[in-house]
């Protein structure tokens, strides 16, 4: 059965450390070109079609800013 995922990022709390990007198996995430209030380029779903909702990004996120959703299709 196929699954499809999505993430949301608390962009104001994200520090743009990129550890989520390094741990994303589907190259879903990238750093935004814009910065947040603290001046960090925050993580976002650059390739939403790729996301499987595996939770790897949120698991390694040091600031607990990623929420993961998943549906079966």
């Amino acid at each position: 059965m196929a699954v499809k995922g999505a993430i949301t990022v608390d962009t104001e709390k994200c520090k743009g450390c990129s550890v989520c990007i390094a741990n994303c198996p589907t190259q879903t995430i990238a750093l935004s070109l814009e910065v947040n209030g603290k001046g960090y380029n925050y993580a976002y779903m650059a390739n939403p079609d790729n996301c499987t909702g595996c939770t790897n990004c949120a698991t390694v996120c040091p600031d607990a800013v990623i929420t993961v959703y998943r549906v079966k299709i």
Binding site: K15, V19, N23, G53, T59, V60, C61, A64, I66
Partner: protein, 253 residues
């Protein structure tokens, strides 16, 4: 399928535990402390022991750990957390008591306290973050700094003749009769995070079983101190720290 249709409460599979407060962590981007705080918070939530847990924060970067986990906290003098934990637990045996300490706090100034708390077999959990450097004070040599590693006080690299050798304190503590569970883990990948979480949960469970002290070292990064990006710091840790500080259980009884 549209993203809006996926991002719905009923489809949520992972998010921030309510055991973490809403305070923005003061740690540098990519710091291991944040991951380990999250792991502890999740363990406390999953075990349902928020009202029975007392945390003890150290001196160093993690001194402000108390701002991030929604439990009762005491803040110890530099290195003394295991002494505080000893009395807190002995006087409140129904509580889960853990210390959270860095390498300077635990392995240098507090080497005596941790050694004796472990040797007495206090029924506490000790979580030791080893990133081989003093973060808070600006990247000076820690007892666990590797030979050759450049820090603010070893600008030419740690030299055994001048600075002594890196201290494998976890191996020492595993030798003591008072410890029941001694393990070294890391938190840079999802698999590593899951293993560390399992270890910390086991340590918390042990503390109610009158088995002795549970000690969980987490080898971590200090990318600011190491002067590397967070992702490169994780790689440096795998290549340089893990060979000297190998991961795995040293004792489990």
């Amino acid at each position: 399928m549209d993203i809006k249709d996926i991002i719905k409460p009923e489809n949520k599979v992972y998010g921030k535990t309510p055991l973490l407060t809403d305070a923005v962590m003061h740690y540098c981007p990519g710091c291991t402390h944040g991951v380990v705080h999250k792991i502890i918070a999740e363990v406390i939530e999953e075990m349902g022991i928020q009202d029975k847990t007392i945390g003890i924060s150290p001196v160093g970067c993690a001194v402000l750990a108390y701002n991030y986990l929604d439990i009762d906290w005491e803040q110890a003098a530099h290195g003394r957390a295991p002494a505080l934990a000893t009395a807190t637990k002995r006087l409140n045996p129904d509580k889960y008591v853990f210390t959270y300490q860095g390498d300077g706090d635990l392995a240098s100034i507090g080497a005596g306290e941790v050694m004796h708390a472990c040797n007495r077999g206090e029924n506490i959990v000790i979580i030791f973050i080893n990133n081989a450097i003093y973060g808070m004070t600006g990247g000076q040599m820690a007892p666990t700094t590797l030979l050759g590693q450049v820090t603010a006080t070893t600008p030419y690299g740690r030299n055994a003749e001048l600075n002594g050798y890196p201290l494998k304190i976890t191996e020492l503590l595993a030798q003591l009769d008072g410890t029941c569970y001694v393990t070294r883990q890391s938190a840079q990948t999802p698999a590593a995070v899951r293993k560390t979480k399992k270890a910390i949960r086991k340590a918390f469970e042990n503390s109610m079983m009158n088995k002795g002290t549970s000690f969980v070292e987490v080898v971590g990064t200090c990318n600011s101190g190491w002067k590397l990006s967070p992702v490169k710091a994780n790689k440096w840790m795998e290549e340089n720290m893990f060979p000297f500080y190998p991961l795995g259980d040293m004792k489990d009884r």
